[in-house]
């Protein structure tokens, strides 16, 4: 597989994300397996009603960290291409917060690589979300 840096597509945007765009980016005649993860805004978190979320990012570093994860996933799982798109700003219930798309010759590394990307994103990428409930708001994960 080509190891060119052009085979990852990183986006941090305040506009709606496109699954079709990510699919088209990773598709390739040599790949038989595409795996996607789409993270959406849930109406309930830890038993509490959620009205909407606000995403904030330290954008230049977030994009760098997203790129590192995409490169690591391609190397580690022998993926062909990785697209990693993340929203910022105000998101409503059902909106898409993140899309991970990966392509691979076979399906097993596609699943593993896709899960690796979203797991790493949640650990390292400087993006924060504030959850709004009917009775107030708070930044998620911040306090014990």
């Amino acid at each position: 597989m080509d190891n060119s840096d052009t085979l990852h597509d990183i986006l941090l945007s305040d506009r709606p994300l496109s699954l079709e765009h990510c699919r088209d980016f990773v598709s390739h005649p040599s790949c038989g397996g595409l795996c996607f993860f789409v993270g959406t805004i849930r109406d309930v978190n830890l038993g509490e009603t959620v009205t909407h979320l606000e995403f904030e990012a330290y954008a230049p570093m977030a994009v760098k960290e997203m790129r590192k994860i995409a490169v690591a996933a391609r190397d580690r799982f022998g993926l062909h291409a990785v697209a990693l798109h993340h929203r910022t700003g105000d998101l409503a219930i059902g909106d898409t917060a993140v899309i991970v798309a990966v392509s691979s010759k076979h399906r097993k590394p596609a699943f593993e690589g896709c899960e690796f990307v979203i797991d790493e994103l949640k650990k390292h990428v400087p993006i924060w979300k504030k959850e709004f409930r009917p009775d107030g708001s708070h930044w998620l994960n911040a306090r014990p």
Partner: protein, 86 residues
């Protein structure tokens, strides 16, 4: 006193750090030459609420900084509270 003014550094704040700091940045003097560990200690001393977070990291020039790294003039410093992307 001009030198002291030059020595102040701005530390950017996002998410809960912005709420704790009461704004999008904190300005501290005598940060140049200090380690990242020193900076973290000073932040907790000045804003005890930082000590109540699950954790917080310092980013230096758009990379996670290790505790022993020394801060230099011109560094871009950012407080990274627990991330919650996805």
């Amino acid at each position: 006193m001009v030198e002291l003014a030059y020595a102040t550094m701005r530390i950017q704040c996002f998410g809960v750090a912005r709420e704790i700091a009461g704004g999008s940045s904190i300005t501290l003097d005598q940060v140049e030459g200090a380690t990242v560990a020193d900076l973290r200690q000073r932040l907790v001393a000045t804003y005890p609420a930082f000590g109540e977070l699950v954790s917080f990291a310092i980013a230096r020039n758009e990379e996670y900084a290790r505790d022993e790294e020394q801060i230099m003039a011109g560094d871009e410093l950012v407080i990274i509270p627990p991330v919650a992307g996805g």
